[in-house]
């Protein structure tokens, strides 16, 4: 797990130290900050990472900071911890995008599980992002006509319909489809359909 990093933001040094030690004992890289500002100022390595955030912080509330993070389009998964949580607070935290809400004192396994889950989520997000970039690149290597054919074919239209609509011969459509499959590196038509769905999902975002 050395290719990941856990950030802690807690103004209580004692808790920072404790949590940091616990996470380091399972070979995680840990960096702790006494305030959200310092966390934001710190350059982050491009590895799967997550943030353990205390609700009660001097100056700014942890929950407000969580909202701020989503405004900044910062996708780092956040685990919110608090010493005095209530339902209202946990609802607010989850709605603001926290992936988990733990009450101090927490069981070591709970926080470790949460951290692992968060790191896994971040890893998948990063992979997904990578996919989007790669598929996007492949997609943009298609000619406009090929993109049209791909969109219509993956929408379930038959070759002759596509040919009719685009005023092409059915043979030409077949050539375009083969070219699309090749450029998109799709092994089957089913995979091309998944790629098209994936692209449409993430390009809309």
């Amino acid at each position: 797990m050395s290719d990941s990093c856990v950030f802690i933001v807690d103004d209580d040094q004692a808790l920072c130290d404790a949590l940091s030690s616990l996470l380091r004992s399972v070979d995680l890289r840990v960096k702790s900050f006494p305030s959200p500002q310092e966390f934001l100022r710190h350059p982050r390595p491009d590895v799967p990472s997550c943030l353990v955030l205390d609700v009660r912080l001097k100056g700014v509330s942890g929950l407000d900071f969580l909202t701020r993070l989503s405004e900044l389009k910062d996708c780092i998964p956040v685990i919110v911890v608090t010493a005095h949580g209530d339902i209202a607070m946990s609802v607010r935290a989850m709605r603001a995008g926290a992936i988990n809400f733990l009450t101090k004192p927490f069981r070591d396994q709970d926080i470790l599980d949460s951290v692992m889950e968060a790191l896994e989520q971040d890893r998948q997000r990063r992979m997904r992002d990578q996919n989007v970039i790669e598929l996007g690149a492949r997609h943009s290597s298609l000619t406009p006509r090929e993109q049209q054919v791909m969109a219509m074919a993956t929408a379930g239209r038959m070759n002759k319909h596509i040919a009719g609509e685009l005023a092409l011969s059915e043979f030409t459509v077949k050539i375009h489809r083969r070219s699309v499959m090749k450029k998109m590196q799709a092994k089957s038509f089913a995979e091309l359909v998944r790629m098209a769905q994936f692209l449409s999902m993430h390009q809309c975002e």
Partner: protein, 471 residues
């Protein structure tokens, strides 16, 4: 009855002597001023007759002298007339002197009676304590009559006890000629009484101590009332502390929970360091050290709260005001955070020491800051600051707590510290009242004012301890 019979004897004696003088004066023709002897009558009468009686008697003697003169002498112009005049002058002077003396002694008697009427128990005793004087007040207070008390040893009879040993008191009396203090004594019925006693030493002309005059007051009831008042004040302070603890519940829970969370996590981390295939002992050791320091931190918080909930009489100890303020602010940490209030502290940088009860003084500070926070909350303004200033001023230490809240209404200034005065919706109106009684019990003063455009400033003073005694 004895007085009455003595009076009768005196009256009959007066009448007999008067009659004898009159007969001698009227019947015999001795060439001496027999009537001068009426002076004797007046002197005899002086003891028992009133001032008015003496005047009448003098008049009677004058008349008898004149009557006797006219009976025994036809000729007015003779030596006998001169003798008669001498007698009259003598009678008049004797009469006037007797009346004035009588009036003076009457006044003295009246004053003595008044003195005897006093409720103060007045005891006169010799240096060794044997009682020679015992007034009505002493009789009423202790139950022994004058006759029973006389010649007995005062301090044995009354079982006198005191925080200062008796010989020390006597020494002080002999050096200063005066002593005042509280004594515990037992009355005839066995009742314990607290006595405020004032002793003065009576010396003879050569300066040798002769007797002790003790004027005693029973202050048992007053003392008990005072103690009851103190008790109820302590109880009230305790109740209000508990109320405040209730209000601060979440802050305190957080204060305890934080180190507990650190302890749990550190302990689990230590276990994980040890369970590794290659145990990391130095990491485990560091984690265990953090466990112990956090345990200490938690127990300190609990100790503070226990002190708060204890219902004990105030214990005065040497106290650093700054440390006391820090402790109070720690308890308020969460409230301050929750209401987004900034606490700004100003100090002179040197230690300020007072003698005081830490819990009670914390109670005052917390009460004032909580009020400040609530005032800021209801003002809902831009600035959310509370300034806490401490400084030395002459022989006192001043602590000022200034908020940027709603301030104090002009109409409320005078009744700010009154019991049951409150501007809060569900306030009891006892907080500031208790603050005042605590500060006054510490020998200080507390007041509230509006200094700037907005907000209120509450200040209190405490007598500063001298640096050498503080060191």
């Amino acid at each position: 009855m004895t007085d009455r019979s003595t009076d009768l004897v005196v009256i009959s004696l007066v009448c007999a002597v008067m009659a004898a003088i009159f007969i001698t004066d009227a019947v015999t023709s001795l060439d001496i001023a027999v009537a001068v002897l009426y002076v004797l009558v007046i002197m005899i009468a002086m003891r028992s007759f009133s001032a008015q009686g003496i005047s009448l008697l003098t008049l009677a003697c004058t008349c008898l002298t004149l009557v006797a003169f006219f009976i025994s002498h036809d000729n007015l112009l003779c030596a006998a007339f001169a003798r008669c005049l001498v007698s009259l002058v003598a009678i008049a002077i004797a009469g006037w002197l007797a009346v004035t003396t009588k009036q003076f002694s009457d006044r003295l008697q009246a004053q003595l009676k008044l003195l005897a009427q006093t409720h103060d128990a007045i005891i006169v005793c010799a240096i060794d304590g044997s009682i020679s004087g015992w007034n009505l007040g002493a009789h009423t207070l202790y139950g022994w009559s004058e006759g029973e008390a006389k010649n007995r040893r005062c301090w044995e009879l009354l079982n006198t006890r005191s925080s200062t040993p008796l010989p020390v008191i006597k020494d002080e009396l002999l050096t200063n000629g005066y002593w005042e203090g509280e004594l515990m004594e037992t009355t005839r019925t066995g009742k314990e009484v607290i006595i405020l006693s004032r002793w003065s030493l009576y010396k003879d002309s050569s300066g040798r101590p002769q007797a002790i005059l003790a004027s005693n007051n029973d202050i048992t009831d007053a003392r008990h009332a005072e103690e009851a008042l103190h008790r109820s004040q302590t109880e009230l302070a305790h109740v209000s502390r508990l109320t405040m603890l209730g209000e601060l519940g979440t802050s305190i829970a957080h204060e305890v929970n934080q180190p507990l969370a650190a302890i749990t996590t550190n302990a689990e981390a230590a276990l994980r360091w040890l369970r590794r295939t290659e145990p990391d002992l130095s990491e485990a050791q560091a984690a265990m050290e953090r466990v112990s320091s956090n345990a200490r931190r938690a127990s300190e918080v609990i100790l503070r709260i226990r002190a708060w909930t204890r219902k004990s009489t105030p214990k005065y100890e040497l106290l650093d005001i700054e440390a006391m303020l820090t402790d109070s602010l720690t308890l308020l940490d969460r409230e301050i955070y929750h209401h987004r209030v900034n606490i700004i502290r100003y100090t002179e940088g040197r230690s300020l020491h007072v003698s005081g009860d830490p819990v009670q003084l914390q109670q005052v500070v917390i009460n004032l800051i909580m009020n400040g926070i609530q005032a800021i909350e209801s003002a809902d303004g831009q600035t959310r600051d509370i300034h806490v200033r401490t400084r030395h001023m002459d022989l006192t230490i001043v602590v000022e707590i200034e908020d940027s809240g709603t301030g104090i209404g002009e109409e409320n200034k005078a009744i700010l510290f009154d019991a049951f005065f409150t501007t809060k919706e569900n306030g009891m109106g006892i907080g500031l009242c208790i603050c005042r009684s605590i500060i006054e019990a510490h020998g200080g003063k507390i007041w509230g004012e509006c200094k700037g455009k907005q907000g209120a400033t509450f200040s209190f003073t405490l007598p500063a301890l001298k640096q050498e005694s503080a060191a």
